[in-house]
Amino acid sequence: MNRNISCTVNSKSMTWQIDIRMSLADVLREHGYTSVKEGCGVGECGACAVLIDDVAVDSCLYLAVWADGCNIRTTEGESKEGKLSPVQQAYLETGSVQCGFCTPGLVMASTSFVEQHKGQKVSREQIRKGLAGNLCRCTGYDGVVRAVEQCIDAEE
């Protein structure tokens, strides 16, 4: 069964006819948002994380029909006019990118964390808790923690 959904993706309004059984991850990928990666398909790895109304969500576990009326952000939309977002920039500076497969999901989870903790003092423990839903096998997360710390410090 198909249904129409309307949502905003990276500030653009979209109306899509979708099979109601489809996950948001699959729909986004079909429409070219291939930053949304599938590492497990069942919410274990976080590679498909996008922001739905500014909250990081595993889009593989999220039915596309639920996104009707929502504001969706993917990594593609985070850099504007050729300029990287502070989180993207911090990932590069701290060496938090290796194979890059978990990176889009981690960038989105980190972006959400940074936005929610604007102006606050946060501990590394809090950062780790905030990103506990994203697996990375390459970096050991050390740079990731520093990247988020750097963004929060810059916000202060």
């Binding site: 949304v36 590492g39 590069l92 990118v97 497969f101 889009p104 590394r124 740079g143 923690v145």
Partner: protein, 762 residues
């Protein structure tokens, strides 16, 4: 100077913006989906298989079983072809099988118009099995009258035996102490975030194009040709961005199958993408080892001999099994190269997932055993663990007992001294009580490692590069080496910029590999690329530089001896601040002058005939909660001698990642197999405990730089080695804190509980 600087990854922007395209991000109109039918038993035979209902399902393009595939067995290990018949890989695979060797073995495959149709078709296939007792443990596998998993093998893949550096029995007689230990390591899975995936289509009636997530495109091309009995020149393998490999993509897993499918379906594009559950059992795992080791030493703490007896279980198919133990033994003997080194090793088949290459290739397992027994040895003679290793560890001037060649650069002892300072070992030793009694106890652990840079002299080490000067004065670098996340493309760009004399951002690396286009290189494994491919890149860059200068000399009329390239300009060699013309202007003239010139390119294919040994150590400060049997890492450092560090930020990232994987091996990860049924309990990322960000503490990475004379930039390897020493260091830290020697991995609360109970701590 580009070498030695922390530059931004050449693929960094593509990756943080999500623009980097991986194998699954490419689609073609009409692309079909393939899915395996995996066995539901671990050992047995398919008696009957009925695919008629599946074939009749609308949307199904084809169903293939073991009856439909080529009958030629092939080897999957991603090694270069060996001209030595005694050194070929084990050909024990068919595309599909009727003899089931592990739970999940591939007995049929469906091709359909969608995922759902393919899944439905799989559910319509009826299979009747004859079941045999799964052989999971060594006692069962090597028992009397057990079935042979592969006919004619006695369930043994290969045995190895060597003694290097002296007469073992004589030296045993001379030792003041002989101590023994037995150590077991677990099955691990690589868990790269991108699963195995590949698709294939045909260009005409003969030519097959494969796009695959592989570490070894050129090797994959040869193996596909072998498996399908066709010419390698008719197979084209393309490698886009790769979402990690760690050795699991140094094996040819899906490529022959997708090639077979498209070949049998009129060349239509067919994608075969493993889901996580299929990937965790149906690709490769790390070999579990069972190692008995004996160490002989003198009263003063001098190690005289190390004698191993190692058993490695390669599972259902050989893959890399025949070479893992021998590579592990050979690479680890550089740690204590003045001792007699003896190794007896046996690799067996078993009804568990097939084990292959995984980061550091046998060395982590061997090092766990060596560094555990060394800790016992140090304690036996009453020496400080660090002093013991400083006394016995490799130092400049030592020779390999195996090759008899000198170790060219060795910073091991300096890495140990640096690690000791970083962890504040001496102060903590002095201040902490010798015997601890509380519920929470603190310990210090150390372990050292040695490793290689590439596979020479065991395997051929070819690498090639091609440089093209563009009209704008930038260059394109085409290389056969494979970027899989480790940062090799960036290191090659740095080397090129350094040697040609142009800026780093003027070097564009062609990251996607295409065996029709890129020059030959065997790929990403054995920590070989920076070291081996770097030697080819330097030669190519020198050739390009010479050609640019030759042409600039024609344009300017200046003697070529007088000029060089610096900062993107042709300059006077003696006064480099005087620019004669830009490299860009040279390029424009070469491209467009009507009467002279032509595109300026360079290409070199080079075989490295050397191998450099890397060294280092892990230091850890940890706490053990006795009632909870839980280990918490307070501080951990890896210190490496990897020669000159080409890109400090990249090298640090490699070390951090390896440490995290090593901590996973130490404390969390194990693929668990039920020994009665052969069922795998945890083939997913929820139940298989890949460390999350919560599980990994702040990581310390440090370097002691040596200048390796066999490498043009003084570099040695850094990719795999960081994973080797964390687990034994943590094991030794637990021993230090509690007095209890845990001799198996992983050291989860469940396993530690057994040891604490036995020791009377609980």
């Amino acid at each position: 100077m580009a070498v030695g600087k922390s530059v931004q990854r050449v693929d960094g922007v593509a990756k943080v913006t999500g623009k980097a395209r991986y194998a699954d991000d490419f689609t073609m109109p009409g692309m079909r989906v393939a899915k395996y039918l995996r066995s539901t038993i671990a050992h047995g035979r398919v008696l009957t298989i009925d695919t008629s209902k599946a074939r009749a399902l609308p949307g199904v393009d084809g169903v293939f079983t073991y009856q439909d595939i080529p009958k030629k067995k092939f080897a999957t290990a991603g090694h270069p072809f060996s001209m030595d018949p005694g050194h070929v890989d084990v050909a024990d695979r068919l595309l599909l099988t009727d003899y089931v060797r592990y739970m999940g073995d591939e007995i049929a495959i469906v091709v359909a118009d969608s995922d759902l149709t393919a899944s439905k078709a799989l559910s319509l296939i009826d299979v009747e099995y004859e079941s045999f007792q799964p052989l999971v443990n060594r006692e069962d596998i090597l028992g009397d009258d057990v079935p042979e998993i592969h006919k004619g093998t006695g369930n043994v893949v290969k045995t190895h035996s060597f003694v290097a550096g002296g007469n073992l029995e004589e030296v045993k007689e001379e030792c003041d102490h002989l101590i023994e230990g037995r150590y077991k390591t677990q099955i691990m899975q690589h868990c790269h975030l991108e699963n195995h995936t590949a698709y294939a289509y045909m260009d005409d009636h003969q030519r097959i194009v494969i796009v695959s997530s592989t570490q070894i495109p050129h090797i994959a091309r040869r193996i596909v040709a072998e498996a399908l009995d066709m010419d390698a020149g008719l197979v084209r393998v393309v490698k886009p961005f790769i979402g990690g490999g760690f050795g699991n993509k140094q094996d040819v897993i899906l490529e022959p199958m997708v090639a077979f499918l498209t070949k049998n379906l009129e060349g239509i594009p067919v994608r075969l993408k493993l889901d996580r559950e299929g990937g965790m059992i149906g690709t490769r795992v790390r070999h579990p080892f069972d190692v008995k080791v004996q160490v002989g030493l003198d009263k003063d703490g001098t190690i005289k001999l190390i004698d191993f007896d190692a058993l490695s279980n390669t599972g259902a198919y050989a893959s890399h099994g025949h070479s893992i133990v021998s590579a592990g033994a050979a690479k680890t003997h550089y740690m204590y190269p003045r001792a007699v080194y003896s190794c007896k090793a046996k690799t067996i088949y078993g009804n568990i997932p097939s084990a292959g290459a995984m980061r550091a290739y046998g060395s982590p397992q061997m090092t766990f055993a060596i560094e555990a027994i060394m800790e016992e040895a140090a304690r036996l003679v009453g020496m400080d663990s660090v002093e013991f290793r400083l006394k016995n560890g490799a130092r400049p001037g030592d020779k390999s007992q195996i090759t008899k060649k000198p170790i060219m650069t060795c910073g091991l002892l300096d890495t140990i001294r640096k690690g000791r300072e970083l962890i504040d070992w001496k102060r903590k030793r002095k201040e902490w009580p010798k015997i601890q009694t509380g519920q929470l106890r603190r310990g210090l652990g150390i372990a050292i490692f040695s490793y290689g840079s590439g596979t020479y002299p065991v395997c051929v080490e070819p690498a090639s590069a091609r440089l093209i000067l563009n009209q704008d004065g930038s260059v394109h670098l085409q290389i056969g080496a494979t970027e899989i996340g480790q940062g090799s493309d960036t290191a090659f760009a740095q080397m090129t910029a350094e040697t040609v004399g142009i800026s780093f951002d003027k070097v564009h690396v062609v990251s996607a590999q295409d065996t029709d286009v890129t020059p030959f290189d065997t790929g990403a494994y054995a920590s070989r690329q920076t070291y081996v491919t770097g030697q080819a890149v330097m030669r190519t860059a020198e050739q390009l530089k010479t050609r640019i200068l030759d042409y600039a000399s024609i344009i300017t009329g200046l003697d070529v001896e007088l000029i060089t390239i610096a900062d993107d300009n042709i300059v006077i060699a003696e006064t480099p601040e005087i620019a004669v013309m830009s490299v860009r202007d040279v390029a424009v003239d070469a491209y467009y002058d009507k009467n002279r010139g032509g595109q300026i390119t360079a290409e070199v294919s080079y075989k490295a005939r050397n191998n450099a040994h890397v060294f280092g150590c892990t230091f850890v400060d940890l706490s053990v909660d006795i009632p909870l049997c839980k280990v918490t890492i307070n501080e951990i450092y890896n210190v490496h001698d990897c020669g000159v560090v080409i890109n400090p930020l990249g090298a640090e990232g490699q070390v951090h990642g390896g440490m995290a994987m090593g901590i996973g091996a130490a404390l969390f990860e194990e693929l668990m197999v039920d020994s009665d049924s052969g069922r795998i309990y945890n083939n997913n990322l929820l139940d298989y405990k890949v460390p999350t960000i919560m599980d990994i503490p702040d990581l310390g990475a440090a370097f002691v730089e040596t200048h390796e004379p066999s490498h043009p930039y003084g570099a040695k390897s850094v990719g795999e080695a960081p994973v080797i020493s964390p687990a034994p260091a943590i094991r030794n830290g637990i021993l230090d804190a509690t007095g209890v020697a845990v001799n198996e991995l992983p050291m989860t609360p469940k396993s530690i509980f057994k040891y604490f109970k036995k020791a009377g701590l609980l």
